[in-house]
Symmetry: C2
Subunit: 401 residues, 2 copies
DNA sequence: GAAATTTGTATTGGACCTTTACGAACGCGT
DNA sequence: ACGCGTTCGTAAAGGTCCAATACAAATTTC
């Protein structure tokens, strides 16, 4: 049990701490006056003034107007200077590459969605670099002005070897060092995160999980996955594999005896992902079923075979969420991914009804994602903003001797 | 996503922070010299001296001897004054009540194990109060000298209502306010924690999980449960129900169709707990099986039916740990509880072998508890010590105007 | 247009920590 | 036994930072 010991501080670190606190409150509260900052931080007015002077000199905050109060002198308002930092968010999806350039205030300045072709490292890198240059040029900043780049990819990024595991859709990226080549996209520091994890952060920051302390995002689509956000922080697990619900031992039979390929892919993913639904429909007698969307449409139209296939899916999803609830005891689970979003109307009610029968605990609320396909990108922005805020501040502090 | 904002500090809070840091390092490093403390905290020698003077005046630390170095003046060593605080740990088990009185240094000064009778609130309270008085008297301190009392109980403590849920073995304790009556045992502040959670903390502090950041303790016995320790902190979940693996949807058939009572109890607990093993043995043809211990003994003797019953148990446990691994991605899982400890030799190997076939991820290490029945008690001591350290420090700081 | 109120800043004082310097204590070698 | 190098502990001086107080500036209300 490695317990983090309390840190000691010297006087000169106080200024850093307090400036950081002031900067953080400006982020949190938006345009805000000095008295409000004094209130929020517990610091005195003169201290706030000094901190604002330093932050202003460093170009991190700016005056933005006056607040007209009921009486008395109007207060100057301060806000984060948006151009103080830029976050490049990249979602490397199965069929699309999406990029967003956001300023430090979180405003999205430019966006690109590219239905890309090849996924081998060299082609993908060239494509990403070109798109990134497009975006920065469009906004009128240089490549070097990007504070931080955040990549969302499927699979698990092994930071020691630079390899990407469990991402069969990205051939060539599982070789050692392959992920490190992403540094070529932008001269900034960069982060590589699992796409489902980012989607979870996105939903937790901009979506339904905003005020929820124990939250998870469950993605069901071509594959399955889960991102866990606890107390506002992503939970990654010992090796970054937390939330790999593909491997939940849920479904009929025993993978060892049945099908080793399915075992490698994971029991839950095999039965519950899009092609698992198609397989279920076929097994039930609908030989011509080709896509999950088709099955859901038919179920909405009242087709009995399709409805039974959906029932099977409901059962699998309910069992998975039951397992997650038994382990994590969450407040809210948001359903996403292709199946989760497009089939959400058919899944949500039955799953919610089924869950209390499986776990005699207070079940979590279950909702369908509001961000949809943008969840990954928005999560990358959120992660990037949090990190970029620290980066610009650290840069400033270092430059104040 | 509630993000905790950076706190601001004033100069006078620096002293508090630094004294806290010094005190923490003394805890962490044991008898330690001033130069070592300066090194560990990053503070200067004079500051350490001042902090030690204050802590000494408050009775929290004391000189303990000299360190003879290879050359130069010998350094005075400081350690926590054990009598500065006392933690009373209480394990309310199924057939035993165990109490321990530990000083602030963590030394166990007195212990009592009582094979108690009645479990209704009034009787149990009387018994606990008597035993607690015995312990304090034996050590020579007063009731009021106890800094903190930590109770370990089965079930989930609802802090809002003061009721204890999911603890069928403690009749009467599920009424609102019942748990609050535990305050009568000692005039100190008190905490009520789930026994399995405490056992997890015990193993994480004194047992096999000492240097592990992602850890869980899985208890299998009369019931089943899991305690999760992440980065040294207990993970409780949204309502304190995290780790209730009794409800993992693992086992044959569907509880809804089969047996509503089993559904209330939880699928996994029904099949994998001690009486689940007995039931499995009977189902396999051993009609006379009466206890899990008997089944394990027979399996060790080579009895075929018993060995098959153990195989069934292995399968269930492996599935449960697979689900836990898929969700949490742990480094280490420690197996405890009656079945876990006494049947560990038969379960460990087969489960470890089975797990990689169920999850294609790096599986966690699995070990059998070394603390055994003392895990709950030791966990209560660990939790109490952490908290008591803050309490005595806060008391001191408040008394220094 | 004056009073009331709120905002921003200048000044003073206090709390804290570090640096520097020096005396105290100890071991080792001669 | 004595000196020397080394380490430990403390004292004094200096610097940084923040709060409190006081006051000037700006704005609304009556």
């Amino acid at each position: 049990m490695p317990t983090d010991h309390q840190t000691a501080s010297t006087t000169s670190m106080l200024r850093v701490m307090n400036e950081r606190a002031v900067f953080g409150e400006i982020f949190r509260l938006g345009p805000v006056s000095r008295p409000e900052l004094a209130q929020a931080t517990g610091l005195s007015k003169p201290t706030i003034s000094v901190a604002l002077a330093n932050l202003g000199r460093a170009g991190l905050v700016r005056e933005v107007g006056l607040r007209a109060g009921p009486a008395g002198r109007s207060a100057l308002l301060y806000e984060v200077r948006p151009e103080a930092g830029w976050v490049l968010a990249v979602d490397i999806g199965r069929s699309f590459v999406r990029l967003v350039l956001a300023d430090l205030a979180g405003t999205i300045a430019a966006r690109v969605d590219d239905p890309s072709g090849s996924r081998n490292p060299a082609d993908l890198l060239a494509q990403l670099t070109g798109l990134a240059d497009d975006l920065t040029a469009r906004v009128g900043i240089g490549r070097a002005d990007v504070t931080l780049t955040v990549f969302g990819t499927p699979g698990i990024h092994d930071k020691d070897t630079g390899a990407l595991h469990l991402a069969p859709n990205l051939p060539g990226w599982s070789l050692p060092g392959a992920v490190d080549r992403l540094s070529a996209v932008s001269p900034s520091p960069y982060l590589v995160e699992n796409d489902t994890d980012l989607a979870a952060v996105g939903e937790a920051t901009y979506g339904l999980g905003r005020d929820v302390a124990h939250f998870a995002y469950v993605s069901i689509g071509t594959g399955t996955g889960m991102g866990i956000v606890i107390d506002g922080k992503l939970y990654r697990g010992a090796r970054g594999c937390a939330g790999e619900i593909s491997y939940l031992p849920i479904g009929e039979g025993d993978p060892l005896q049945d099908d080793p390929a399915a075992a490698r892919r994971g029991m839950f993913e095999t039965v519950a992902s899009a092609d698992g639904i198609v397989a279920a429909a076929r097994r039930l007698g609908w030989a011509g079923a080709t896509s999950a969307k088709e099955v859901f449409d038919a179920a909405r139209a009242g087709e009995p075979l399709a409805r039974r296939a959906v029932e099977v899916e409901v059962n699998h999803v309910a069992h998975a969420l039951a397992a997650v609830t038994a382990v994590l005891d969450l407040e809210l689970i948001v359903l996403g991914g292709g199946v989760g979003v497009q089939g959400g109307d058919l899944l949500l009610g039955p799953v919610q009804e089924r869950l209390p029968h499986l776990v005699a605990l207070a079940p979590p609320r279950i909702e369908v994602s509001t961000l949809g396909a943008d969840a990954v990108l928005m999560g990358a922005v959120a992660v990037g903003l949090t990190e970029a805020r620290d980066l610009v501040l650290a840069r400033t502090v270092a430059a104040t001797p």
